[in-house]
Symmetry: C2
Subunit: 331 residues, 2 copies
C-alpha cells in the first residue's frame, strides 16, 4: 500500500472515530438524563401542559398582564417582573431579593430565574412545592415580597374594569375574579417562558450545534457527575443534598435547605445571565462558581482547563427568549 493510500485510510478512520465519539457523547448525555427542549411546539406542549390548567392564548395573555402588574402587590409598586425581570434572564441581579418596603429576604435568598421553571420538579429554594402554581402564591403573599393577600388581590382586580373581560375570556363567565384564576393565568404565562439553545439542537442530533470546546465541556460535565443533579430539560429543578458545610459563604443568611438539608438545584439554562450565584447570591463570577461547586458538591479541585471547558459548555445553554410585547395594563 502506498503512503498516499495509507494517509487517506487514516483520515477516513479519524472521521469514523470522531463520528462515533459524537454519537457516544450524545448517547452519554441521554443516558445521564440530559433532555432536549423539543423544537416541535406539539412535543413541547405535551411536556409543559398542566392537566389542571390547560393552556389557551387568552389565559397566557392574561397571565402576562398579571405578571407585569405591580398592583398585585400591597404597595402597587412590585410586580412578578420586579424580581423575575424577563429582560435580565428572569432575575433581579442582586444578591438577596428586595421586597415590600425595601425589606431584604430574611434568609438572604437570591431570586431564581422564572425562565424554564416550568420544567422544575420542585419550586422555591427548599423545593417545598412542585409546580408553578404552587410557587406563585409564595412571593405574592410573603410580607417581605409582594405582601398581598388573596382577598386583597381579588378585591383590587374586581375594581379594575378592564380585567373583567380578560378573566372572562380566559376562564368563562364567572361572577367574580378568584385568586385561584390569578395563579393559574400567571402559571400559564410562565410555562411559555422556555428558552431553547444550541445545546438542544445537539441533543436532537445536530453534531455541529456545539463547538469542540463546548463538547469537551459537556463531557467533563457528565464525567465529573455535575449531571447527577443538573439533569432533565432544565438541567436543574430537583431537590438534592447540598454540602452546606463545604460552602464558604454558608453563614451568610440562615438558609440551610429543608429539614433534610436538601435544596432545589438551580437550572443552568441562561446561567451566564443570572448572576449572582448560589442560594444566597454570594458569588458573582460564573467561573468561580464552577470552581466552588467542584469543591462543595464533588469534593474535587477542578483544574483550570476543566473550569474553562465547563464554562464553554454552560455558555451553550444561553437560549432564545420568547418575544414579549410589553402589556398595557387594564384600568
Amino acid at each position: 500500500m502506498k503512503i498516499r493510500n495509507l494517509s487517506v485510510l487514516f483520515i477516513f478512520l479519524t472521521v469514523i472515530l470522531a463520528a462515533n465519539d459524537e454519537t457516544s457523547l450524545l448517547e452519554l448525555a441521554k443516558k445521564n438524563h440530559l433532555q432536549a427542549i423539543p423544537k416541535s411546539k406539539l412535543e413541547l406542549l405535551q411536556i409543559i401542559e398542566d392537566p389542571t390548567n390547560s393552556l389557551t392564548q387568552e389565559k397566557i395573555e392574561l397571565g402576562k398582564i398579571l405578571f407585569f402588574d405591580p398592583r398585585l402587590s400591597k404597595s402597587n409598586l412590585i410586580s412578578c417582573n420586579t424580581c423575575h425581570n424577563l429582560g435580565m434572564g428572569g432575575v433581579d441581579g442582586v444578591s438577596k431579593a428586595i421586597g415590600h418596603e425595601w425589606q431584604p429576604n430574611p434568609l438572604h435568598l437570591n431570586s431564581p430565574t422564572v425562565y424554564n421553571a416550568v420544567f422544575f420538579s420542585h419550586q422555591l429554594w427548599d423545593g417545598r412545592v412542585d409546580d408553578l402554581k404552587g410557587q406563585i402564591s409564595g412571593p405574592i403573599h410573603a410580607n417581605f415580597e409582594m405582601a398581598s393577600s388573596a382577598q386583597e388581590i381579588e378585591e383590587k382586580l374586581q375594581n379594575i374594569k378592564g380585567y373583567k373581560k380578560l378573566f372572562q375570556n380566559a376562564f368563562g363567565i364567572n361572577a367574580e375574579i378568584s385568586f385561584d384564576e390569578v395563579v393559574k393565568a400567571i402559571a400559564a404565562f410562565e410555562s411559555t417562558l422556555v428558552t431553547r439553545s444550541r445545546f438542544d439542537d445537539f441533543m436532537l442530533g445536530d453534531e455541529n450545534a456545539l463547538t469542540q470546546n463546548e463538547k469537551e465541556g459537556l463531557k467533563i460535565f457528565i464525567n465529573k457527575r455535575c449531571a447527577k443533579c443538573h439533569k432533565g430539560y432544565a438541567l436543574g429543578g430537583w431537590k438534592v443534598f447540598f454540602r452546606h458545610d463545604r460552602y464558604k459563604y454558608t453563614n451568610i443568611g440562615s438558609f440551610q435547605g429543608n429539614q433534610n438539608k436538601l435544596i432545589k438545584v438551580p437550572t443552568l439554562r441562561n446561567i451566564t445571565q443570572t448572576a449572582p450565584y448560589f442560594h444566597n447570591g454570594m458569588i458573582w463570577s460564573l467561573e468561580e462558581t464552577i470552581y466552588e461547586m467542584g469543591k462543595i458538591q464533588l469534593n474535587t479541585k477542578l483544574k483550570q482547563i476543566e473550569v474553562d471547558r465547563l464554562l464553554d459548555f454552560l455558555k451553550s445553554l444561553d437560549g432564545e427568549k420568547p418575544k414579549i410585547i410589553y402589556p398595557n395594563l387594564p384600568f
Copy 2:
C-alpha cells in the same frame, strides 16, 4: 311651496348649519392653540426632532434598553420604567413617587407621565428645565429616586460588555460611554412615546372622530378657558400660576411651585390612566379633579352636566400607545 319641499329645505339647512357649527368648533379649538399630533411621520418628526440630538433607530433602541434597565439606579432595582411605567399610562399609579430604599418623594410629588412629554415646553413639576434631556438627569441623580451619579453609571455601563456595541451603533466609536450619551439616548426613546387619539383626527378635520358629547365637552373646555393652560400638542406642558390657596390638599407636601408659584401644567392626554391627580396625587377620581380644577383655577363651580361633558372630552384624549417589545438587557 309644498309642505314636503319645505321640510326638505329644513333638513338641508340643518345639515349646513351643523356643518358650520363643526367648522366653528374646529376653528375655535385651533384659535385656542389646541394642536393635532400629525398623522404624517415626517410632520411628527419635524415637531419632535431635537437639533442637538438627532433621532436614529439605533439611538432610540439603546434609549429603550436604558429606560428599562434598573442598573441605572444605585440599588440596581429601579428603572425609569418603575415610576414611568409604560404599561400604566407612563406613571406609577401611587400618590407620591417612591424611590431609592423606599424613600417617598420629600415634596410628596406624584410621578408625571412620560407619554407625550416630548411636547412639553417645561419639564418637572416646577418646570425648571425645558426639554427631555434636562428632565432625565433629575430623577437619576436625586438621592430619593434612582440615586446614581453620572460617574457611577458610566463605570457600570462600561463594565457591561453588551452596551459597548449599542453605544457605538448609536454614537459612533468613542473610547468610553458618557453619561451625556445615556441621557441623549433615553431622550430619543422618550420622544417616540407619542399617543395620537380621536381628538387629533378631529383636529385634522374628521368631524366624525368625536361624538356629540365629546364635542360639547370640547366646547365647554374652550369656553370655560381650560384651554388657556391645557393647550398645544400635549394639552399641557406650560408653566402657569397655580392657585395653591384654593386647593384643598395644598398642605399635603410642601410643594408650592417655583419661586413665583408657577407649576407645570400636566398633559391631559391619557389622563384617564394617570390617576391619582394633582402634583401631590391627592385625588383619585377624574370627575372630582375636573370639579376641583374649576374651583381652583377658574374660580367657578362647574355644573354636573359640564363636568360630565368635560369627562367625555377627556376620554377622547386616550391615545394609541407605541408597541414596545420588552428589551433583553445587555450583559
